[in-house]
C-alpha cells in the first residue's frame, strides 16, 4: 500500500533497554513528522565494535564487551558443549578448542540477535538444571554421562520432541549451532575436517583426475556447439 502513512520515530533510541548509542551518528530527524514509508536509520551501539573496526588485528574473546557467564554457567557450558562435540581419535572436544569463551562472548554481545540468543540459552540452562534436579537431585553438570545423554536425547531433535519440550528443543538446537560454530571455526575444527585452504599456492590445479574418474565426472566442459 503505497499511501500508508507511518510515523517517524527515533526507533532505536526509543527501544527500551538498548545500550548507549555512538555519538554523532543521529540523523537530523523530525520526531513525529509523518511521511509515507519506512525509515531506514542506523545508529551503532556504543558497546558494539562499530562499522569500521580494525580488521587485521586478532581479537581475544571479550575484547569488545565483557564476558558475563558466572562460574556455574561456564561449567554447564563446558559440559554441554563437550557432550555435543566430545574429544575423539581425530580431534579435541569443543571446550578444549575454546568453545566456552566463544559461547560466552556470543551471549554477552550487545546486538539484537545475540540478546535473543542469550535469553534462549539462559532459560535453557534453567530447564536443564531443573530437569536434572527432578531426576537425580543434582545439577546437570554433575550427572552421570548416561543420565546427561538421556536428558539430551529427549530434546536433540525438535521434530521428534514432544509438545511440552519444544522450547528446550529449540534451546538445544541453538546451543548445538553455537557449539559447532565455535569448534569448526578453530584450528582444531579445520584440522578435523581436513580443510586445506588458506595457504598461498603458486598455481591451482583443480581436483585430481583419478578422483573425478572414480566419481564418473571426468568429461570436462561440453564442447562448443553441444546443446545449442
Amino acid at each position: 500500500m503505497t499511501d500508508r502513512r507511518t510515523t517517524i520515530k527515533l526507533i532505536v533510541a526509543a527501544a527500551a533497554g538498548v545500550p548507549a548509542l555512538r555519538a554523532g551518528a543521529a540523523g537530523m530527524l523530525v520526531p513525529g513528522a509523518a511521511v509515507p514509508g519506512e525509515l531506514r536509520h542506523y545508529v551503532p551501539l556504543m558497546s558494539g565494535y562499530g562499522p569500521d573496526p580494525n580488521l587485521v588485528k586478532a581479537y581475544e574473546k571479550g575484547a569488545f564487551w565483557p564476558l558475563t557467564l558466572n562460574p556455574q554457567q561456564r561449567q554447564l557450558t563446558t559440559v554441554l558443549a563437550d557432550l555435543i562435540i566430545p574429544a575423539d581419535e581425530h580431534s579435541p572436544s569443543a571446550s578444549a578448542a575454546g568453545a566456552v569463551d566463544f559461547i560466552d562472548e556470543w551471549i554477552s554481545a550487545p546486538y539484537p540477535q545475540q540478546r535473543r540468543d542469550r535469553l534462549t540459552v539462559l532459560n535453557g540452562f534453567v530447564w536443564l538444571d531443573g530437569a536434572a534436579q527432578l531426576r537425580a537431585r543434582q545439577p546437570f553438570a554433575t550427572l552421570e554421562e548416561a543420565q546427561q545423554h538421556a536428558l539430551c536425547d529427549r530434546v536433540c531433535d525438535a521434530s521428534r520432541a514432544p509438545a511440552d519440550l519444544q522450547e528446550p528443543a529449540r534451546f538445544f538446537a541453538l546451543f548445538r549451532n553455537l557449539t559447532v560454530a565455535a569448534f569448526y571455526t578453530t584450528e582444531a575444527g579445520r584440522k578435523d575436517l581436513h580443510y586445506l585452504g588458506n595457504v598461498p599456492l603458486k598455481h591451482f590445479d583443480g581436483p585430481p583426475v583419478e578422483l573425478l574418474r572414480k566419481l564418473g565426472l571426468d568429461q570436462g566442459f561440453p564442447s562448443a556447439g553441444e546443446n545449442e
Partner: protein, 600 residues
C-alpha cells in the same frame, strides 16, 4: 601530495569526479592517463587494501566468529567501511510495495566504494541487451549497440584482469581472444553441474571474474591500451607489476592485499595518482552541482564530513559517479531558478526507472559429494563456472511466460568453515550430537551446492527515487525516498529460477531441505537486495525520453556527465559493473575529444 583538503586544493581542475567506485575510478584513470587535471571527491575515508585487508585471518580471530551483525552486515571481515544496508547518519525512506516488500540500499563509505568487496563477477552485456525493445517491444533500447561498447569491454578486461572462457554463445559474447585470463579449473562440484545441467538443456561455461589467475602481461597490454602515450604505458606497466597473481587462498570479499582482484583502490587509483594529475579529497559529501548564469556546471558543493564545514570546488567539467541512486539524489537536490525540479531533469526522468537484478536462490545437498577426500577448494574465491541464459529462442516464440532471461551463478566445495557451515543440520542428521555429530560434519562438509539466479528486469514506472520532504541526513541533505514494485515478469522469472534449481538438484542426485518456492510473489528477493541498482539518469535518443545522451552527457547541461550505473536504460541479467566501467571509459574518451576540440 595527492590527498588534499578543501583548503589545500591545487586548482584549477579540468574535471571534478564525484565518487571513487567503479564508475568514478575508471573515469579518473582514463582522464589522468591522458593528462587531464582531476579532482576526485569521495564521501568516505581513505582506504588501503595493502594494509587493511585481513587476508589470512581465520574466523576465530574475529568477534562472534566473524558472523553478521548490524555493524557489519556481511560479516566482520567484509571489506565494507562505514556502510552496509544502512550508513550511520545517512537514513533513507522506503515506501513498501503492494506485497509489503521494501527496497534496500547497500552503500560503503570508503575510497573505492563497493568495488572493495563486490563479487567480481564480470559478464558482458550481449547485443540483445542493448536493444531489448526492438526484440520484444518492452522497455527501452539503449541509444548504443553492443558494437559501440565492445572495444571498451576489451579494454576494461585487459586493464582490470578478468578470467573466463573465450567462447561466445547466443547473446553471451567474449572478446577477440586475448582479453581474458585463463579460468580456474572447475572443482568436483562444478564437474557435477557441468555433467548434469545439459539434461535440462543448460550449458555450463567457465565463470568470469575480475581476478588475476596469472600475472598481467605488463609488456603488451599498456601499449594496446595507450597507443602513442609512452608515459601512460610506463605508469600502467609499473602498476601491473605491482599486482600479484591470485594466491588461490583467501575470500575476495575481504578485498585483496596483493592486488590480485579488481578494486578501484588497487587498479584505477594507483596509476591515476602516479600521473600526478589526480587530487583526492576524502570525507567530501557532495550535495549540489553549482551553475553559472548560462546553466553550465561550475563545480560542486560538499560537506566536509570530518568538520561539518560546507565547501566548494570548481572545474570545467563535472562527472557524477556516486552510484546510481546517489547521483540521482545529487541531481534532484541541485535545484535552481533555471532548474526548479532538479538539475538535468527537464525530462522529469531523474530518479526514474531504477532497476535491480532479479534474484532467487536454492541450496541443495548432494550425496555424491559426501565424504570426499581432503581437497583444497579455495580456488579463485568463487564462480569457477556459470550457466548463461538458454531460452532466448523459446522466448522469441512466446513459449516462456516472461520475456527476459537469467543466468545461474553456481558454487560449492570445501570452502573455509564459517559460523554458518553446519547450522541447522538436523534435517540430515536427525539431531545428532556427540561422536556421531562429528562424523556427520565430516560427511556433509563440502556436499552443499548453491544456485543463485540473476535475472533481467524490465524497467517500470513504479521504481523510482525522489527526495524525502522531511527526512534529512546528518549533513542536512534531504534523504532519498525509494519506491519499488516488481513486475509480474520478474516474479514469474524468479519462480522459474526456483523450479529450475529444484530440477538441477534432482538431476545431480541431490536433496532439498524444503520444497522450492513456486509462488512468484514469494520467490523473488526484495528490490535492491542484489545490489545491482542502476538507472535514474537513463541514456536515450532524445532529451524528452532520457536524462543522458549516448555519451553519458546530460542533455540539459553540456559539461555534466554521469559515470555510474545511472545511465543504464536497461538492466540485463549480466551483473552491471563491467558495463559501468566500459561506459565510463567510453564517456571519458568522449570528454577528452571534446576538451581537445575546446568544445567543453
Amino acid at each position: 601530495m595527492p590527498f588534499v583538503t578543501a583548503s589545500t586544493q591545487r586548482g584549477p581542475y579540468d574535471v571534478i569526479i564525484v565518487g571513487s567506485g567503479a564508475g568514478g575510478g575508471q573515469t579518473a584513470y582514463t582522464l589522468c592517463m591522458e593528462g587531464v587535471r582531476v579532482l576526485l571527491l569521495e564521501a568516505g575515508r581513505e582506504y588501503s587494501p595493502a594494509h587493511e585487508t585481513p587476508m589470512f585471518q581465520t574466523p576465530d580471530m574475529a568477534p562472534l566468529g566473524g558472523s553478521v551483525t548490524p555493524d557489519k552486515n556481511f560479516g566482520f571481515y567484509d571489506a565494507t567501511v562505514d556502510g552496509g544496508w544502512e550508513v550511520p547518519g545517512e537514513p533513507y525512506v522506503t515506501v513498501p510495495d503492494r506485497w509489503g516488500g521494501h527496497f534496500t540500499w547497500w552503500r560503503a563509505r570508503m575510497l573505492g566504494g563497493r568495488t572493495n568487496h563486490w563479487g567480481r563477477i564480470s559478464l558482458r552485456n550481449g547485443p540483445y541487451d542493448f536493444k531489448p525493445h526492438s526484440r520484444d517491444g518492452l522497455g527501452f533500447d539503449w541509444p548504443i549497440t553492443y558494437e559501440d561498447v565492445a572495444p571498451y569491454y576489451d579494454k576494461v578486461e585487459m586493464l582490470v584482469g578478468v578470467y573466463g572462457g573465450d567462447e561466445s554463445r547466443e547473446n553471451t559474447p567474449a572478446g577477440p581472444g586475448d582479453t581474458l585470463l585463463p579460468p580456474p579449473p572447475p572443482l568436483v562440484s562444478d564437474h557435477l553441474f557441468m555433467q548434469r545441467a545439459p539434461k535440462l538443456g543448460i550449458t555450463v561455461l567457465p565463470g568470469r571474474r575480475a581476478v588475476l589467475t596469472r600475472a598481467q602481461d605488463h609488456r603488451t597490454i599498456p601499449g594496446k591500451l595507450h597507443p602513442g602515450n609512452p608515459r601512460a604505458q610506463r605508469i600502467l606497466a609499473e602498476a601491473m607489476r605491482n599486482r600479484s597473481a591470485c594466491l588461490w587462498a583467501t575470500p575476495c570479499g575481504r578485498g585483496c592485499a596483493v592486488g590480485a582482484n579488481y578494486q578501484s583502490t588497487t587498479v584505477h587509483l594507483p596509476p591515476a595518482l602516479a600521473t600526478g594529475n589526480l587530487d583526492i579529497i576524502t570525507h567530501a559529501m557532495v550535495y549540489e552541482v553549482t551553475l553559472d548564469k548560462q546553466g553550465r556546471a561550475t563545480g560542486v558543493r560538499f560537506v566536509d564530513a570530518a568538520t561539518g564545514r560546507h565547501e566548494h570546488a570548481s572545474a570545467r567539467i563535472v562527472v557524477l559517479g556516486a552510484s546510481a541512486c546517489e547521483t540521482a539524489r545529487i541531481l534532484l537536490n541541485s535545484k535552481s531558478s533555471l532548474f526548479p525540479n532538479g538539475l538535468a531533469n527537464s525530462s522529469g526522468l531523474v530518479g526514474r526507472y531504477i532497476l535491480d537484478t532479479v534474484g532467487s536462490s536454492v541450496v541443495g545437498q548432494i550425496p555424491l559429494l559426501e565424504s570426499l577426500p581432503p581437497l583444497n577448494e579455495n580456488a579463485a574465491g568463487g564462480l569457477q563456472v556459470y550457466a548463461p541464459w538458454w531460452l532466448y529462442q523459446e522466448q522469441l516464440a512466446h513459449k516462456v511466460s516472461f520475456p527476459r532471461g537469467y543466468h545461474i551463478e553456481y558454487g560449492g566445495g570445501k570452502v573455509v568453515p564459517s559460523v554458518y557451515t553446519f547450522q541447522g543440520l538436523e534435517w540430515l542428521t536427525g539431531g545428532s550430537y556427540g561422536r556421531k555429530l562429528k562424523q556427520d560434519a565430516r560427511r556433509y562438509y563440502g556436499s552443499f551446492v548453491g544456485f543463485d539466479g540473476r535475472g533481467a528486469m524490465v524497467p517500470n514506472e513504479n521504481c523510482y527515487v525522489e527526495l524525502d520532504p522531511v527526512v534529512k541526513d546528518r549533513f542536512g541533505i534531504p534523504a532519498p525516498r525509494f519506491h519499488w514494485q516488481w513486475g509480474e515478469y520478474e516474479q514469474r522469472q524468479a519462480a522459474h529460477m526456483q523450479e529450475t534449481f529444484g530440477a538441477l538438484i534432482e538431476a545431480m542426485g541431490g536433496r532439498l531441505q524444503s520444497p522450492v518456492v513456486t509462488d512468484p510473489v514469494k520467490a523473488i528477493s526484495p528490490g535492491g537486495n542484489m545490489i545491482h541498482e542502476v538507472g535514474g539518469a537513463i541514456m536515450g535518443e532524445n532529451a524528452r525520453s532520457s536524462v543522458t545522451n549516448r555519451w553519458s552527457q546530460t542533455w540539459d547541461v553540456p559539461n555534466l556527465f554521469v559515470a555510474d550505473g545511472g545511465v543504464f536504460a536497461y538492466n540485463a541479467d549480466k551483473n552491471p559493473t563491467l558495463t559501468i566501467m566500459a561506459l565510463a571509459w567510453r564517456m571519458s574518451d568522449h570528454i577528452l575529444q571534446r576538451m581537445r576540440r575546446r568544445e567543453i
